[in-house]
Subunit: 225 residues, 2 copies
Amino acid sequence: MQKAVIIVAGGSGQRMGAPGPKQFIEIAGKPILMHTLEAFYRWDAGIEIILVLPESQKTTWENLKKTYSFNLPHKIAFGGKERFHSVKNGLGLLSPEVRLVGIHDGVRPFPSKETITACFEKAAEYGAAIPVINVNDSLRKAEGENSVAVNRDAYKLVQTPQCFKKEILAKAYEQQYQAHFTDDASVVEALGYSIQLTEGNPENIKITRPVDLAIAEALMDKTAF
Amino acid sequence: MQKAVIIVAGGSGQRMGAPGPKQFIEIAGKPILMHTLEAFYRWDAGIEIILVLPESQKTTWENLKKTYSFNLPHKIAFGGKERFHSVKNGLGLLSPEVRLVGIHDGVRPFPSKETITACFEKAAEYGAAIPVINVNDSLRKAEGENSVAVNRDAYKLVQTPQCFKKEILAKAYEQQYQAHFTDDASVVEALGYSIQLTEGNPENIKITRPVDLAIAEALMDKTAF
């Protein structure tokens, strides 16, 4: 089945304390976002890649592509007010023959081949699948002024790509935006679909804090990507 | 007030796939556990350090101390069946003048000075404090066969040191062991004390998976510890 990935790169770099958007920060010789696109192209050179960028970053991206001689084929959609609207814009550019769609964070350059494969395979079978990993630390939940220990074994940390049959995803994104739509699974879930969990890889971190840059450099060095 | 830290090093290295205990794996030129002891000694050279080790690892530790010319003062207690029993053994070695006690994972070599200070200060004021950080990924909770998205903003990831007034901790550890005692806060909480949260540092990771070793090496290089 023809597959596509919508890579959402909307960050401003605020939490990073960086002067520019965090997806353009260089690690191991090129911007994070290029590593992310390459991860999917390396997985399957036939995948359709749609990159969602804030309109204000289009020129920067075009210039970076020239600077780094980056020429992986991809379409560009513009970001919207919330992630929800950005993904919706990306959906509008899908080729008609696409049957399965992954949605992925632009600042997650390290999804493993196994993570991507497992997610698309389970989405093909069940309609909706997302990669998760175990919680490695103890976990507490706020309750009013206090907090209580909860059983971390009942919880999973969610990564991307989040993968879906196209018709389910398209239908889900016809809903009105709601504030609790924090990821694509929650949008699809609101339609009543259940979400299958697949095994993610611990390297597949979201680069959001300054410390994540040091970690990302290390992962780039040590991992066979 | 006189302070002590009980450093619990009970790991077997199973999840790491390493041949020996993970706390003895070398990063940046010496075993992880030595970095951990140094973090507290650097914070306050007057702190009493009690290291809890499985009895079977005592000779290895003595040999490693010679190999690396490691001579930070510390007492050694032996580990018990569960973490609970290990901590209890450590408590038995506290000097009478100690008033505040931190309990720390042996495989967390990167608590910042700010993290340690904030935790001990709040424990001095309120009796019990633990460092926490935000959850960076989406979070799901298992519900029967399925899972549901939960609001990650209501949750915190718990680190160590977990700090307490000695009399509270001693009383808490007189309780019978229960399976839900997953960290020291949960033991103290079972007595009815409320736990204060302080800000942890994201570098303060628990080294348990192979990927954490690469991350730890990077943090060692890039962070001013």
